[in-house]
Symmetry: C2
């Protein structure tokens, strides 16, 4: 139980598409990520996922509906089972706060070179 | 499924100590609240509660340890079963983003005039 300062936590890493756990509650993990470029298409069969943009602009593509564009101070919940693909402008680093069950793999059902198997804690 | 803009949501209400639900995921509710003054001592027997300060300074008192002071961009998880009392400076309005199970009553085990029984959705 200590105060989590988001700027401080973000200052501690620079790798992309590699979420770090900063808090846990009620079986959910609060994760921070820096992302740039285009992620893999994936879904999470049993898990809703919250995206909260802290810096930059994030686009989330969907297969069957228009993309969603998120700016700082905006959040969005991708419901379980919905295939999605987060992306940024090619050279723009975006900072995200994510909330999802502790067990969630960020690439969902997809095994990818981008898949992180053990989330670092900050 | 729509984009949730926090500034927009906060602009829609002015009452204090009355959290509004803006999103749900995995059995958890994301709530926004404006608070001012001192809340009631309470705990939540089965539920961890996340406080994320968006504006102002929030102090959380505990019975058996030093208070925690949270500024904008800082967050804190009060574990289940820990008695706590959020408060602000007497005339300072503080904006909070809260995360807790959907069923959680914000006054926990305590029936108070401040207790909200049906959370408004924004």
């Amino acid at each position: 139980m200590s105060v989590i300062n988001l700027e401080d936590k973000f200052s501690r890493f620079n790798d992309h598409w590699s979420p770090k756990v900063v808090a846990e509650l009620n079986g959910q993990a609060v994760k921070l990520a820096k992302v740039m470029g285009t992620f893999v298409w994936h879904d999470h069969a049993e898990e809703d996922e919250l995206f909260h943009v802290v810096r930059g602009t994030l686009t989330i593509d969907f297969e069957d509906r228009d993309p969603v564009v998120l700016h700082p101070g905006e959040l969005y919940v991708v419901p379980r089972g919905i295939r999605h693909r987060p992306r940024t402008a090619p050279d723009e680093e975006v900072w995200l706060l994510l909330l999802e069950p502790i067990a969630t793999r960020h690439t969902g059902d997809v095994d990818s070179p981008m898949t992180v198997r053990n989330y670092e804690r900050l």
